[in-house]
């Protein structure tokens, strides 16, 4: 089964149309991966769908890096009783 990191990278690669293999945890969605305003929202929506969780909009959009998203989604799944 894929890890949280792999699943996050897969979503990021699909939404931002980039190669999953070159995505690193320290990458910023905006500066390194080129996410524009609407894409940030699309990313959060895609994370919700991938992990089956509801995310707080402001908190989710405040996450700026891939590693931050991994931590945030891990915690959200725990809080909402979603198995990883």
């Amino acid at each position: 089964m894929a890890t949280v990191e792999q699943r996050v990278k897969g979503v990021v690669a699909r939404v931002l149309e980039t190669d999953a293999a070159r995505i690193r945890p320290e990458h910023s969605f905006t500066f390194d991966l080129g996410a524009k305003s609407v894409q940030s929202v699309e990313l959060v929506a895609a994370f919700e769908e991938e992990f089956g969780v509801e995310l707080d909009e402001d908190a989710a959009l405040a996450v700026t890096t891939v590693g931050g998203a991994i931590d945030f989604l891990t915690q959200a799944c725990r809080d909402q009783g979603v198995a990883l």
Binding site: K36, S37, V38, V41, E42, V44, A45, E48, L55, E57
Partner: protein
């Protein structure tokens, strides 16, 4: 560069100070004064306490059917009756819209006047408008009006170049004869001092007003003449220190304190030739004219008159309360004017289609968090116009989300977040980024996309 004279240390806070004593969102922001103004008049420093206007019985008078009709084809009688009824509702039971003036010359003029009066509203009181011709008082008497405006043009441009009087004395005597006829007819005259901001005050205007006051010293209160200061060409200035005859504060001082015309008999009538019309009108209120003459949406000769609806908003801001005004009538009046072919620009304050519409995504984000951030007051309650978002390339997900929530009728806990709206936000972004669109996206297009891309939410919509 000026030298620094005072330091301003940060007053740190963890809670916002929203200055709600001034910016009470339920009303237009309060207008507050913290000290008197000083004007130098004839070499003397004189103090004006502008906050006194807040306790005076200031009011609006309407000239939509007189000056307002000089800029457009005539209203039909039905239209006038409808507008008059809405003016009555707007001004409320205390007569914040106190009077409305009518032409009296044609059969249609009379019919409109009679039908408006037959509605039975106490306010606005119907008054007339006639030339400075003695015989015209017959029209006023026949109409049963208690007050009429009389042209008493007072600049030499009018006295000599238009009216062709041979001398100021001849002009003054002629005007006084008309006033005498008004008293005899039992009609209160309202002297329209045309072109007063371009007139020789000391040489003609003040001597004439002195004479009017002398003539009226023995007439009963209900016949005491009113003095309308007509800024015919929009030359009036509100700035402190401006010189006569253009200074509005100084003009009013001369009439009010030197000639002894009480505030309740002083009225300001402005024009917008220099974009000053509203502020000039309010300045007149503040310095001693109780009446501000205005037209709906500023429609009037050339560049127009003080916008009546803006005067109403200013009234509320000065008084700190509605005073019986029904502000929702402003929106109905604007809708009605549009329906009869009078265009109102989209960005026109209080009633334009876009007056409280933002198209910038960052502003929409602010509106989404707290509408007070980018809305002037509670326009939903006072004008039945909720703040809105126009969808363009600048809207972003914030703007799209706000539009969708408003469209669906979702508020407070019902509101859906940006993630739920991302498909529509993507479609909007693609219109501009991929397809090179240059126009705003219409409400109809947005509705179609919400129905297509968010069918579950669309089915839950509360506005139909």
């Amino acid at each position: 560069m000026s030298a620094k004279t005072k330091s301003h240390p940060l007053v740190d806070a963890t809670q916002p100070n929203l200055l709600e004593e001034t910016f009470d969102y339920s009303l237009p922001p309060r207008i507050r004064f913290d000290q008197p103004c000083v004007e130098y008049i004839d070499g003397q420093a004189l103090e004006f306490n502008l906050s006194r206007a807040q306790s005076r019985d200031i009011f609006v008078t309407d000239t939509t059917f007189r000056d307002g009709q000089q800029s457009r084809p005539p209203y039909t009688t039905d239209q006038m009756v409808h507008i008059y009824g809405l003016l009555a509702r707007l001004g409320g039971p205390h007569g914040v819209v106190r009077q409305s003036e009518f032409f009296l010359y044609t059969k249609n003029d009379r019919e409109a006047l009679d039908r408006c009066r037959s509605l039975g509203h106490r306010y606005p009181e119907c008054t007339g408008w006639i030339r400075a011709v003695k015989g015209d008082f017959r029209l006023v008497q026949e109409a049963g009006l208690k007050e009429t405006g009389v042209l008493t043009s007072c600049s030499d441009y009018h006295i000599f170049n238009k009216l062709k009087f041979k001398s100021r004395k001849e002009c003054l005597e002629s005007y006084c004869e008309v006033l005498a006829a008004a008293f005899e007819a039992g009609v209160r005259p309202r002297c329209h001092l045309e072109d007063v901001t371009r007139a020789d005050l000391d040489g003609f205007v003040l001597p004439f007003v002195d004479r009017v006051m002398e003539m009226s010293s023995h007439v009963p209160q209900h016949l005491k003449p009113k003095i309308r200061l007509c800024d015919t060409m929009g030359f009036g200035l509100s700035y402190p220190g401006a010189a006569l005859p253009r200074s509005i504060p100084k003009l009013i001082y001369k009439f009010n304190r030197e000639c002894g015309v009480p505030s309740e008999l002083l009225e300001w009538h402005g024009h917008n030739d220099f974009h000053k019309v509203h502020v000039n009108g309010v300045t007149a209120w503040l310095y001693g004219c109780d009446a501000l003459n205005a037209t709906l949406f500023g429609f009037g000769e050339r560049t127009g008159n003080p916008p009546l609806e803006a005067a109403i908003i200013e009234y509320i801001a000065l008084k700190g309360g509605l005073g019986g005004v029904d502000t929702t009538a402003i929106t109905e009046l604007a809708d009605y004017m549009r329906s009869i072919g009078l265009p109102i620009p989209d960005n026109y304050p209080f009633v334009g289609k876009a007056f409280n519409t933002t198209s910038a995504g960052i502003h929409a984000g602010g509106l989404r968090h707290d509408e007070r951030i980018y809305n002037i007051f509670d326009t939903t309650k006072l004008l039945r116009r909720p703040p809105r978002v126009a969808i363009t390339d600048k809207s972003g997900a914030d703007g799209v989300t706000l539009w969708i929530n408003d469209f669906l009728g979702f508020s407070n806990n019902d509101r859906i977040n940006k993630m739920k709206c991302h498909k529509v936000a993507r479609w909007v972004a693609d219109q501009y980024e991929l397809h090179g669109r240059l126009t705003a996206i219409s409400d109809q297009e947005m509705e179609t996309k919400v129905r297509e891309l968010m069918p579950e939410h669309y089915a839950q919509r509360k506005k139909h």
